[in-house]
């Protein structure tokens, strides 16, 4: 079972709440996904309003609520947002997003590290969204991040794990869980990430904008499970050459 900061998760699929056609569709899709952790953009909700369209349909007992700092351009903004969210009952779990470029929404490594250092000191459980940079992953881990969230490809692009080579290194080095986030556009993409040994994946856009988000959520859940089982079962090695017909080919000189 996956454990992050002492909390156990049966599902290795994490969900998001953005881009859905209605709060009702979102609720149903999240239920179908079986996920237990859901990220919510703080900019999108009103924590002080019990009738908030997103918060009022999400069961806080069923899901661990992972507020994110989407929209923050630098560490100072992310920290300010995080503090206010916690003060309004948002809890101490935080998906840290610092994305100064509103076009690509790629994360700023320097500001993300700064904010992680500060927020960890203040007692937050920080899960930073990051580019797939292995050294940055180690630096964030050393700064006290409870997991790292490297991107598969830029957010919303549905391109899959374009950062495969880097993510493999991150997985091989990390002591904290590695959650592949962003750009996972199809169940096959998440299966790939899970087969590589990712501890979990986060999927939002691909489910939210699917023709049938509820069925798509189920498909992603199945792919995550398949990928994880395959990883645990031990995949056969991939080779470019066919296996030699005789195992001793080329060794005839041996006495």
């Amino acid at each position: 079972m996956l454990t992050i900061a002492g909390r156990k998760f049966r599902s290795r699929l994490f969900g998001g709440t953005g881009k859905f056609s209605s709060p009702e569709v979102m609720k149903e899709a999240l239920e179908a996904s079986g996920c237990e952790m859901v990220t919510v953009a703080l900019r999108r909700i009103d924590l002080n309003n019990p009738a908030d369209d997103i918060m009022s349909v999400l069961d806080r007992d069923r899901y661990l609520f992972l507020p994110n700092t989407s929209g923050a351009r630098d560490a100072a903004e992310a920290i300010r947002l995080a503090r206010l969210a916690r003060a309004s009952g948002g809890g101490e779990w935080l998906k840290l997003e610092v994305t100064p470029d509103p076009r690509t929404l790629l994360p700023d490594p320097i500001e993300t590290l700064k904010a992680t250092e500060e927020l960890v000191k203040e007692g937050f459980k920080v899960l930073p969204y990051m580019n797939a940079d292995p050294i940055l992953a180690l630096r964030l881990q050393d700064a006290g991040a409870v997991a790292v969230m490297p991107l598969g490809s830029p957010i919303g692009t549905n391109q899959g794990v374009l950062t495969r080579f880097q993510v493999e290194i991150i997985i091989s080095q990390a002591q904290v869980p590695v959650i592949v986030d962003a750009g996972l556009g199809a169940p096959s993409h998440v299966a790939e990430a899970m087969e590589m040994g990712a501890d979990a994946v986060l999927v939002n856009t691909a489910i939210a904008v699917a023709g049938d988000p509820v069925r798509m959520a189920r498909a992603f859940a199945m792919a995550v499970e398949a990928g994880r089982i395959a990883y645990e079962a031990g995949l056969g090695a991939v080779s470019k050459d066919a296996a030699a017909s005789s195992p001793e080919d080329g060794l005839g000189f041996l006495r």
């Binding site: 209605s22 300010r80 076009r103």
Partner: protein, 373 residues
């Protein structure tokens, strides 16, 4: 600084476009400026359906199945400019009004109670009646109660924009009205707005001041809409290169009947407007696109999901018009009189979520004055 080519140069680039270039642009993830010119050209007209489809897919992928809703709040109808097309033009004999802070606040609270969380503060250009001090005070008074505050007022200096940003203003719209320099001089008959270049440089000043977002646009009906579309593309591309931290939006105001009986010089049909919106969406997948209540409800409903991402609702263009039925002169007559609830229902019917809050004052509440209660 951004400079716009001669209008005739833009028109020639569009005129050269062939159907093959249209098809290439339609199938490209990055059509570029050449592709934009092709998509705006008459050669693209037979492919309007394919453009709509592509524009819709790109929009959903980037923005999800959501439409952000907002309302304009008109603060003042005083104006020092003489613009031939505008109801607030200084030469028009209308009853003029600037709201007191209390009046403006009570208008804002009406919108708040109606469910709005994103406000656009609008005024005519009369700095003596409504200057930066006024706007700063309004921002400080309102920012604790609204998620995002934007302004559409006279162009300001970098220092003034920075002051307003610190006070809680999130974004600024400064429409060029027309990128056709000759036409610009013909319709801007007097006042500070007659300076084409100062206005053209305004969006860069907004970005340089650190605003989150800057809105550009052309008033459709003044000159050749196709060339305006290409100029908007050039302006977007320039702003992206020079101010990569700033979010960008485009508006497509079509001339509406207004005081002064100005008739559009080059009428823009709904098909034309749609082509322009689809082309710019394909050119820039990340730009926010506004479709205001200038357009009729039927058209706005039809465009949901095809490109625009922000809709106003229940708008009144007369200062004080939310609290009083007959508040006096409007800047223009709106085409869609439906309430926020009605527009939201239409958005939902199309399978989209009308999003009322997609920002938070906390991002920039850093001034020395506490949030309003």
């Amino acid at each position: 600084m951004f400079t716009v080519p001669e209008f005739s140069t833009l028109q020639a680039a569009i005129g050269r476009a062939t159907e093959a270039e249209v098809l290439r642009a339609l199938n490209s993830d990055h059509p570029g400026l050449d592709g934009l010119a092709a998509l705006l050209s008459p050669a693209a007209e037979p492919h309007l359906g394919a453009m709509a489809k592509r524009s819709g897919i790109i929009t959903s992928q980037r923005f999800g199945r959501t439409i952000q809703v907002y309302a304009p709040l008109y603060l003042s109808s005083f104006c020092a400019n003489r613009c031939a097309y505008c109801g607030f033009s200084a030469v028009n004999t209308i009853e003029r009004r600037v709201l007191t802070f209390e009046e403006a606040e009570s208008e804002a609270m009406i919108l708040h109670q109606r469910g709005f969380s994103h406000l656009l503060l609008v005024s005519g250009e009369a700095p003596a009646k409504l200057g930066v001090d006024y706007l700063e005070e309004m921002a400080l008074r309102l920012r604790g109660r609204f998620a995002a505050l934007s302004i559409e007022v006279q162009p300001l200096s970098i220092e003034e924009y920075a002051r307003l940003f610190r006070a809680g203003i999130t974004s600024v719209a400064v429409y060029q009205e027309t990128y056709d320099r000759d036409m610009y001089q013909q319709v801007h008959l007097g006042g500070p707005k007659a300076d084409f270049d100062y206005r053209l440089e305004s969006p860069a000043r907004v970005a340089a001041a650190g605003m989150r977002e800057v809105g550009i646009g052309a008033l459709l009906g003044l000159s050749d809409w196709r060339a305006e579309g290409l100029a908007l593309g050039l302006h977007l591309a320039w702003l992206r290169k020079h101010y990569w931290r700033t979010g960008l939006t485009v508006s497509f105001p079509r001339l509406r009947p207004a005081q002064g009986e100005f008739k559009p010089l080059q009428p823009v049909s709904e098909r034309n407007l749609s082509q322009m919106i689809f082309a710019l969406r394909m050119f820039d997948p990340d730009v926010g696109l506004y479709l205001s209540t200038r357009e009729e409800g039927r058209y706005r409903d039809g465009m949901i999901g095809l490109g625009p991402t922000r809709y106003s609702a229940g708008s009144c263009t007369a200062p004080g018009g939310y609290g009083q039925e007959s508040a006096g002169a409007e800047q223009f007559e709106v085409g869609d009189n439906r309430s926020l609830a009605e527009v939201s229902a239409a958005i939902q019917k199309k399978g989209f979520d009308p999003v009322r809050k997609d920002w938070d004052a906390v991002f920039q509440v850093q001034g020395d004055r506490q949030q309003a209660a």
